[in-house]
């Protein structure tokens, strides 16, 4: 019985420290590489572009030494939702007025264009999920934060509080496992006093109703913790000098430039194939 293992449901930031070529790239290069591929896969309009994108992501997974079956397993949880979306897509997709249905079941007419767009939707989501998993496997949260901080630094000259924004992101990531654990403890405390947690019965409505009394103590404990953390940050002189520095010095090397060029070329190819 895993009813109380809330941490199990949290999958964000599953970093695999594998020390591959991809892992050794400058964090900024990786962020840009993944971003352009994500964008290209989102906007390409033809199956050929998507297949190319899929191929590129599979190659990158290989370079990153990520076991393929491990990466593909990440597709399983959202699959039912994707299938439902795809089925809907079959019926609602736009088609040329002259198109003839492939099959007809009473009022349900299935057109070739509908099948194609359903297939594309599935493929597109698979590519997007794989790219996101790839970035999670190869980019640790700290690398992501420092990379983002550096990439966003030009904006701080425009007066945007980029340091603070990145700090917000960092603290948020720190709080995710905490929230899961706190929710688990509160649920257990309530179950110990007769609430219906983790009893071997209960339908979906009862389960949803249980969540409500969880929220108040979860908020209270989170606020209290946030307060302590703010105090601890204050005590360590956060915000007392305008120019924060970083322990990490990032070095942009030749291989990083190659990675970005590779990203740009692939993205262009994906988009051109998709016209």
């Amino acid at each position: 019985m895993h009813n109380f293992e809330f941490l199990r449901m949290v999958n964000i930031g599953q970093y695999l420290p594998l020390n591959s070529l991809l892992h050794r790239l400058d964090a900024r290069a990786r962020i840009i590489l993944y971003l352009v591929i994500l964008m290209a896969a989102t906007f390409t309009a033809q199956p050929a572009g998507l297949f190319l994108a899929l191929l590129i992501v599979l190659v990158l997974l290989r370079i990153g030494r990520i076991p393929l079956n491990f990466a593909l397993r990440g597709l399983l949880p959202p699959l039912p939702f994707l299938l439902i979306l795809a089925v809907l897509q079959v019926f609602v997709s736009i088609r040329p007025p002259s198109a003839l249905p492939l099959f007809e079941f009473g009022i349900l007419k299935i057109y070739a264009s509908g099948l194609v767009s359903a297939g594309m939707l599935l493929l597109r989501f698979c590519v997007l999920i794989l790219t996101l998993s790839l970035s999670s496997f190869t980019l640790s949260t700290s690398e992501m934060i420092h990379g983002l901080e550096s990439l966003l630094s030009p904006f701080s000259r425009l007066g945007l509080p980029t340091h603070d924004l990145v700090m917000v992101l960092q603290v948020t990531i720190r709080f995710i496992p905490f929230l899961a654990m706190a929710a688990e403890r509160i649920a257990k405390a309530q179950a110990s006093r007769g609430a219906e947690w983790g009893v071997r019965k209960g339908n979906i409505f009862q389960r949803v109703r249980q969540v409500i009394p969880l929220i108040v103590p979860l908020f209270l404990t989170s606020l209290r913790r946030a307060e302590t953390m703010a105090l601890a940050m204050d005590a360590r002189a956060y915000g007392s000098t305008p120019q924060r520095t970083s322990m990490y010095t990032m070095q942009f090397q030749f291989k990083d430039a190659v990675a970005i060029i590779f990203g740009a070329v692939s993205a262009t190819a994906i988009l051109i194939l998709g016209i």
Partner: protein
């Protein structure tokens, strides 16, 4: 005259209360602390210790009066970066002070805030990790560290700012003996290296280790002297909500029968070393009765070969319990002892069906937890579990509603008021004055009492308590232990977990000792404690009374092998002294 490290003149401070009258927390404090001092700041819960400490690095600013650090007035914001790097602070709750996603970055957080160059930061981080012994964990995310490691990490983050003074604000309260020991050693080391160390603590033995003890009472300095002086008037301390260190208390009681014991023994090792041999040879068996046969507990609660793995079938899986055995008798107090991470909480959660056995068997009273048809709600009502941290347990606004939660769910209406009153009286909370208080305004000790009362209101037959005394001041601690004894006399069966033997030795008649998820020892208390060497091998300490008794036996006194209560020890010594000479 050069400026002292810390100078406080007539400091007044009140906590602002929204829409209400401000509560005065500090009333006219005058204090001077020089470079390199080792100061302990003690006082009951709510005496203003933390408030005072937060003035020392400008987290709070005085309402009236002046606080100067190296001559810099804390009210001037331009000094704050300097003041905060001069005076570092380590807080009580381990996980709330770590900001970054991995340990080494967290250590770098302070120096980064000071705007130091990267190479300098790197150097300081290396040094801080070295001193705190955390080098091998540098890449870990904070939530995967143990509580002791987190506190050391917090200290490393402070040290990386190269402070002249470190304040430890109840840093050891949430740690197990091993973690506590490690942090205490670091405190001593920092002092030896010339830093000023200020320790806020409820552990009197941490105060004894300091050179100077400042006692706060209701926002005023009540005593400010050496530990020897401060601890020479036990009655005054008790009135201030404090107590002697354990060794001191034991010494006073022993002096009744051993008048030659030197006065002012405050450390355990000093006490043990000072114990005298008998004034004349004592014949074995002359004074004491033969060892009583020890009966095993009757098995009201039975756990055998229990195994549990968290997050099974994921990369994060880890085994918390393996081959665990626990047998506890009805109407008795059973102690569950082990360090952090030894599996105490996991085991307790099996005893009220929050976790179900993956391997092995669990039976609690009439319930068999291996039977899938067992009514889990009935089990949880039969065996109530009180968690360590009351924050996670209190979810109603008012104390009365909180305690009425469980009986209300059961459908009680007419007798609700009486049930709540009964539960509150059992834990020593006055019904009339507490029922309408807001739960989040209560002190730590009061919150624990409410959490306990809210379970008692369910009228369970078994109470399971996870670390019932951790983080309480000496007075609240003995009050809690007294109400637990009270509950046992009402016929409840209690299972208490703790990482101190001392805490529960007085109460429990049987014990289970866990080590890394396995049962090390399980049986009657006398039997368990007689394995002193096995306990010490696993980083656990037998209670001081037991150790003192063992030493006296070595010296030639006729004392049975295992003594758990001070009263028994004194009784035996007395009989020894009264016995006809051989």
């Amino acid at each position: 005259m050069t400026a002292a490290l810390i100078e406080i003149e007539d400091l007044w401070y009140s906590h602002p209360v929204r829409g209400g009258e401000a509560i005065p927390a500090l009333k006219g404090i005058n204090l001077r602390i020089e470079e390199g001092e080792y100061v302990a700041l003690i006082g009951a819960n709510g005496s203003g210790k933390t408030t005072l400490a937060r003035h020392l690095n400008a987290l709070l600013l005085p309402d009236r009066g002046v606080v100067r650090i190296h001559g810099m007035d804390t009210r001037e914001a331009r000094f704050h970066p300097q003041i905060r790097s001069l005076v570092g602070m380590v807080f009580q709750s381990p996980e709330d002070q770590l900001v970054a996603a991995i340990l080494e970055e967290d250590v770098a957080f302070g120096p980064e805030n000071l705007g130091l160059p990267p190479a300098e930061i790197r150097q300081r981080v290396e040094d801080a990790l070295e001193i705190t012994g955390l080098k091998e964990y540098r890449q870990r995310p904070p939530h995967l560290l143990s509580a002791g490691q987190m506190q050391r990490a917090a200290l490393a983050g402070v040290l990386a700012m190269r402070p002249r003074c470190v304040i430890f604000d109840e840093t050891t309260a949430m740690l197990d003996p091993a973690g506590r020991h490690m942090v205490r050693r670091l405190m001593r080391r920092l002092h030896e290296e010339g830093l000023t160390v200020i320790v806020i603590s409820h552990f009197m033995r941490e105060a004894v280790a300091a050179q100077r003890v400042i006692v706060l009472n209701k926002g005023e300095i009540a005593l400010d002297s050496t530990p020897q002086q401060v601890f020479s008037h036990p009655a005054d301390l008790w009135a201030l909500g404090l107590d002697l260190p354990l060794a001191g208390r034991l010494a006073i009681q022993l002096r009744e029968v051993l008048p030659d014991l030197p006065p002012n023994l405050l450390r355990s090792n000093d006490l043990i070393a000072a114990l005298p041999p008998p004034p004349f040879p004592v014949k074995a068996g002359g004074g004491s009765e033969p060892d009583r046969p020890v009966l095993p507990p009757n098995g009201f609660i039975r756990v055998d070969r229990l195994g549990h793995t968290y997050l099974a079938d994921t990369p994060l899986a880890y085994q918390a319990l393996e081959e665990v055995r626990l047998h506890a008798g009805e109407g008795k107090v059973h102690g569950l002892i082990g360090s952090t991470g030894s599996g105490k909480s996991t085991l307790l959660q099996h005893l009220n069906g929050l976790l179900l056995p993956q391997k092995g068997t669990v039976a609690v009273g009439p319930f068999d937890l291996n039977d899938p048809t067992t009514d889990l709600k009935a089990v949880r009502q039969f065996a109530g579990l009180v968690f360590q941290n009351p924050d996670y347990q209190l979810f109603e606004q008012y104390v009365g509603d909180e305690i009425a939660y469980a009986p209300r769910l059961k459908g009680e209406h007419d007798s609700l008021r009486e049930t709540v009153r009964m539960a509150m009286e059992m834990v020593g909370l006055d019904f009339e004055s507490f029922k309408d208080r807001l739960t989040f305004t209560l002190s730590g000790g009061e919150r624990r009492k409410v959490a306990l009362a809210s379970l008692i209101a369910m009228r369970p037959r078994v109470l399971l308590l996870d670390e019932p005394t951790a983080g309480l001041d000496p007075r609240s601690r003995s009050e809690t232990l007294r109400s637990l004894e009270n509950l046992r006399q009402q016929g409840l069966t209690l299972v208490l977990s703790s990482h101190h033997m001392e805490d529960i030795a007085e109460l429990s008649s049987s014990l289970t000792v866990l080590h890394r998820g396995r049962t090390l020892l399980d049986g009657a208390a006398e039997e368990v404690y007689s394995n002193v060497s096995l306990l010490e091998e696993h980083g656990l300490e037998a209670p001081l009374v037991t150790r003192a008794a063992a030493r006296l036996r070595e010296l030639g006194w006729d004392i049975p092998r295992c003594i758990l209560r001070i009263g028994d020890l004194i009784e035996h010594l007395r009989r020894n002294l009264e016995a006809p000479h051989a």
